[in-house]
């Protein structure tokens, strides 16, 4: 059987676990956290307790070593309850992935194990004020002094930064070297000289925390370097290749939630003497929304499945992330339209979904960058 869309019993169980957690723990808190912008850390602790964090850490270091498809199944369920919480919950996967990819077994032992035996957050520190898309243009520098590197510079938009105990930091030996100078370091939060900035006031994903991080003469042991000097760019790109597909799943979850809300509402709300679902204009909207959500999920599953087969997926993961996040915007937008004026009110859940969906087009590689990659891969194949 070359293709099989049936999930295994185990996958269904993981999905059910995530669905339950999303329904019982996340969903009841989503609206309030969105309004207040609080960081619901008790929810994240609970997620950790159930094993819903650090999904990509190998079993030998105490993790569950899940493949990408499993991660995507879980992420979609969580995101259907709250995109912001899901971003904060899955940020550990992003931050720890460079260690999975390039860490020595000693480093894995030292850095990954504590995350599996206790609740901790980690952040992936790549983006800089001068530019996120142009990674090679980064300005944060490292300078070697004996057994240490000295770090200076600023990162922005770093998820969970003030709450994290560990950072995977990308900095350059010399900006002039462009991507050849970039080096990855693991930096514990308590290292002197690190200052997280204020929590940014965001449009969406308000239950997540995002802030800048400044490094002032921060001394990091050479033993904390991942890979060789100058390998950081590759490590960052490989990391994003593996976390891009789950972002597609996150966007799919948001879109699915919007579709569910809209479909239910269309049966309850009446106008001109019948449920609005019976007006064709609304029914057709719903039909279009279903197609988009389904297509997004299938693209996500394909990319994840290929990755689980050990295949490189720069193209497929970009397609999945880009498509899912674009349709998430469209579907959330239409869901608000189905709700009419109520949809525009913050008391109803759909306007939040639109605000949350928007981020998925921007972070982990903007959709413009994804399209560049897709076109480049396409042309490479036909050339």
């Amino acid at each position: 059987m070359p293709i099989d869309f049936e999930l295994s019993a185990e996958q269904k169980e993981l999905q059910e676990l995530a669905r339950r957690f999303a329904r019982d723990v996340m969903a009841p808190r989503a609206a309030a956290a969105d309004h207040s912008g609080e960081f619901p850390e008790d929810v994240y602790r609970e997620a950790w307790k159930l094993g819903l964090m650090n999904l990509n850490v190998a079993t030998e270091y105490g993790g569950s070593g899940l493949g990408e498809l499993d991660q995507c199944l879980i992420t979609e369920e969580l995101a259907a309850a709250c995109g912001g919480m899901t971003t904060s919950i899955s940020a550990n996967c992003l931050a720890l992935q460079p260690i999975n990819i390039a860490g020595t077994s000693e480093q894995k032992e030292r850095f990954l194990k504590p995350f599996c035996s206790d609740y901790h957050l980690a952040s992936f520190a790549l983006t800089e004020p001068g530019g996120g898309s142009d990674v090679a243009g980064m300005k944060t520098t490292i300078r070697r002094e004996g057994d240490e590197y000295v770090v200076n510079g600023e990162k922005v938009f770093i998820t969970n930064a003030p709450h994290a105990s560990l950072y995977t930091l990308f900095a350059t030996l010399d900006p002039a070297l462009r991507h050849k100078g970039i080096t990855a370091l693991v930096v514990p939060r308590n290292t002197p000289g690190i200052t997280p900035g204020k929590d940014e006031d965001k449009m969406g994903h308000r239950a997540s925390s995002t802030s800048s991080l400044t490094f002032e003469n921060v001394r990091v042991p050479v033993a904390n370097r991942l890979g060789a000097e100058g390998e950081g760019f590759k490590i960052a790109m490989n990391t994003l290749d593996s976390t891009r597909t789950p972002i597609g799943a996150l966007a799919t979850g948001i879109a699915r939630a919007a579709l569910d809300h809209a479909a239910k509402y269309s049966l309850q709300r009446t106008s001109f003497g019948k449920p609005i679902a019976e007006h064709q204009a609304i029914a057709i909207k719903l039909a279009d929304m279903v197609q988009k959500v389904d297509a997004a999920r299938l693209l996500v599953w394909r990319s994840a499945w290929l990755a689980d087969q050990g295949k490189p997926v720069p193209l497929e993961s970009s397609i999945a992330k880009c498509f899912a996040s674009d349709i998430a915007m469209e579907v959330c937008n239409e869901a608000i339209q189905v709700f009419g004026g109520y949809g525009y009110m913050r008391e109803y859940p759909v306007e939040k979904l639109l605000r949350d969906a928007k981020l998925t087009q921007i972070y982990e590689g903007s959709n413009e960058i994804q399209r560049l990659v897709i076109a480049k891969e396409l042309l490479k194949r036909v050339a």
Partner: protein, 267 residues
């Protein structure tokens, strides 16, 4: 000292019910089955407490059902049960609660059990008949609607509370026994992701129903259901309330009592 818990996989309570083409049951096509009956989850939790606090050794779970019922058993294993047994039926095998109890009894004779625990009823058929029937087939006492359970293993005694209309009875009784649990003392735990993965490696034995038929045939009632389902029907939609017009609260009260007495005849 071993515990055996009977679990049943049931349709998700949110499922929109449809009548099957035969008209005799609900249409299970496309229906999402939940992992477990909630009453059974409470029972598994209570059984785990017996293990953790009172020194019971093994906790096994058993279910009668089609292949998909394995999911319910895996979920119980993920909660912490040690082993599972699925008495596997063909998908559309007609069953009634007492026939289920006979299959359970037939299988239980080969499974060590000092305590057998069942949930008060299944969420779907709501029959609540398996527990005491199982007690009968196995020649064990049964205690139903148990709300509090404290074993005294040294004396093979259970101190219990059980629900009765208007209150609870406090009593002690011997085990081995079959208990139907009305409510446990704790909310059922959610299986963690690592435990879900570990549950895959715990033993799950499948016994085809055929293998038990000889034993079941010897029990009163035998291998066939003793009743036959004729129809499964959904209620017609209610038409909507007859609104009673009034000016003052007194008038509202007067008119309402009048229709309740004279028209609805419920007072």
């Amino acid at each position: 000292m071993d515990i055996l818990v009977c679990v049943k996989q049931v349709p998700d309570p949110e499922t929109k019910l449809r009548v099957s083409p035969s008209g005799k049951t609900f249409d299970s096509d496309g229906v999402k089955f939940t992992i477990n009956n909630t009453y059974d989850e409470a029972t598994v939790e209570e059984a785990l407490r017996m293990k953790e606090e009172f020194g019971f050794s093994a906790l096994r779970v058993i279910s009668v059902g089609p292949a998909r019922a394995e999911e319910a058993l895996r979920s119980a294993l993920a909660m912490g049960a040690d082993e599972a047994v699925l008495i596997e039926t063909p998908r559309d095998m007609p069953l009634d609660p007492l026939l289920v109890a006979r299959y359970l009894a037939a299988a239980a004779t080969d499974i060590p059990h000092d305590l057998i625990m069942v949930g008060r009823q299944a969420q779907d058929d709501e029959a609540g008949a398996v527990g005491s029937a199982l007690g009968e087939y196995l020649g064990l006492p049964s205690y139903s609607f148990v709300t509090e359970l404290t074993p005294v293993p040294a004396n093979h005694l259970l101190k219990m509370k059980r629900y009765v209309e208007g209150g609870e009875e406090v009593f002690s009784a011997p085990f081995p026994a079959v208990l139907s649990i009305l409510k446990g003392s704790k909310d059922p735990r959610t299986p963690t992701l690592p435990n879900i993965l570990k549950a895959r490696k715990k033993p799950l034995k499948k016994i085809p129903v055929m293998d038990l038929e000889a034993k079941v045939a010897n029990l009163p009632g035998g291998t066939r259901p003793t009743s036959e389902t004729l129809a499964f029907t959904l209620p017609p939609p209610r038409a909507g309330a007859k609104m009673i017009e009034f000016q003052t609260p007194e008038e509202a009260a007067d008119r309402l009592l009048k229709v309740l007495k004279e028209e609805a005849k419920v007072l």
